[in-house]
Amino acid sequence: MNTIFSIRDVSVRFGGLTALDAFSMQVEEGAIHALIGPNGAGKSTVFNCISRFCQPVQGRIEFAGQSILDLPAHRIVGAGIARTFQNLEVLRRMTVLETVLVGLTSRVENYVPFWRSAKRSRAERGAVEQADAILVKTGLMPYRNARAGELDFGHQKMLDLARALAAGPRLLLLDEPAGGLRNREIAFVDRLLLDIARRQGITIVLIEHVMQLVMSVADRITVLSFGKKIAEGTPVEIRGDPRVIEAYLGSAGHA
């Protein structure tokens, strides 16, 4: 197993407060790497740095050997990194299919949008086929033409994942994919994640509060607290780690 993705002592500051403090982590190719920690620990900040929504004051982020800190936000997915969002950011007024087509952006070839052309028909037909395949895989096919805003919570989460998958990434950043889901749905996510990682060999970095999911799928877990890495290891190691328990309980007051 070789490291495909690495963060080296990255620090982020918003005004006065330090959201991330010299944070580092290595992710093995094909692994499911969970990133856990109490609320406000800076987990989502890590993702935002990777998808270039915020700029670290120091540190390096490398994917497949190349630094991504000099790429603009919309190039990240092209480089092979797709992400989902924590609190629902769905394309409300677009249909499920359209959303997935947006996810395919980096893979659809460009054409003149104002009139019909062979190139256009080819591109569009190809895109729709790929999108449908993904809809089948994620169980969204029945809602193909429903507006994303009209789906219920679970399906919106699933749609977000489908959109990310559409980009055909090598690294998938999932921000609380099971947050607020019912058990039955969590089980589905569980199987889906395993399928993505094991079958398609897509590396996953997973932010999640639902411990049952983390413990069942994660190969490795990194624990964040107040912008600092306080522990890293296998689920078994982490489960018994006193610092982790302290962080959660200690921070329970703040959260």
């Binding site: 929504f53 915020c54 936000a73 950011e89 409300r92 805003g149």
Partner: protein, 300 residues
């Protein structure tokens, strides 16, 4: 000779600037507390002036009573508008970004509604004027001449600004108002009555617009279209950064003076376009304005 030009241009620039600033204050309050840019601000000014005129000419009340009546009327109008119209829109708000368009369009519609309302009243088509707050012989500042009413305008503006600064920074209600705009959901969680706060903010801002109306009616005269002054207020607010109360007063004064100098040094024709030119330049070069924190440009 030129020194006279200079002092006079500055002096009357300050006065007109203060008028702009008063309107700008109302805009800024609404923006700070409800995150809406109020394109109906000018019409609220106009409404204040015409309610005053109605009170004086039709009901023949005293100046003080007129003042009170006008302020109350405009306060209620603004509050009701927020409750009924904006409330409905915010009620079905999905995400702040996508719903900003209807909110602003609603204020545009509100402005037209008020203007149409006044226009439908007979004899409002004539240019009218309110009596000044204080009258008497003009006052000389060096070589420059100012009317007593001008001094009153400056005074009122400064007082209102100071009062508002205290209100927003040191009173609980004021802080609550700011909280509601910065994060409505959180504010609601800590037990701030968000809806009432928004209403209060709109009422307060409208009242200030009404006061501005009564003060500028004697100076700039009244027509149902006097609301155009709002664009100058926008310019003033943007110079000031759109969130800083002292900022927009200074912005207004700066604009008033700049207009006079443009008129003297370039050409009076250019006076009309100055505020818009200022808006563009400031937003392009320094979106946070001269005093505001970084608010104009968005993250992402």
């Amino acid at each position: 000779m030129f020194s006279l030009l200079l002092t006079q241009a500055i002096a009357s620039g300050v006065v007109t600037g203060c008028v702009y600033a008063l309107v700008a204050l109302s805009l800024v309050i609404i923006y700070k507390s409800t995150d809406v840019v109020n394109f109906a601000g000018g019409e609220l000014v106009m409404l204040g002036a015409y309610v005053g005129l109605l009170a004086l000419t039709y009901f023949e009340v005293s100046y003080a009573v007129m003042f009170a009546l006008a302020v109350i009327a405009v306060f209620t109008t603004g509050a009701i508008f927020e409750r009924v119209v904006l409330g409905t829109i915010v009620g079905r708000r999905h995400s702040a970004h996508t719903e900003l368009v209807p909110l602003v369009v609603a204020t545009v519609g509100f402005g037209y509604l008020l203007k149409g309302l006044v226009r439908a009243v007979p004899y409002t088509e004539e240019v009218r004027r309110l009596p000044p707050l204080v009258s008497g012989p003009p006052i000389f500042i060096g070589e420059a001449i100012l009317q007593r009413h001008d001094i009153a305008i400056i005074a009122v503006t400064v007082v209102v600004m100071a009062a508002l600064t205290v209100f927003f920074n040191f009173t609980l209600t004021g802080k609550a108002m700011r909280a509601t705009s910065q994060n409505g959901r959180a504010a609601a969680l800590v037990g701030i009555p968000v809806k009432r706060m928004r209403m209060a903010a709109w009422g307060l801002a409208s009242a200030i617009a009404g006061i501005a109306g009564i003060l500028l009616a004697p100076k700039l005269l009244m027509t149902p279209d006097m609301g155009v002054v709002v664009m100058l207020a926008f310019a003033a607010a943007i110079i000031g950064g759109f969130t800083s109360l002292p900022g927009c007063v200074i912005g207004g004064i700066a604009l008033g003076i700049v207009q006079n100098f443009v008129g003297i040094l370039l050409s009076p024709q250019a006076i009309a376009v100055t505020p818009f030119f200022v808006i563009i330049v400031v937003l392009m070069l320094r979106p946070q304005g001269l005093f505001g924190e970084m608010i104009a440009t968005k993250k992402v």
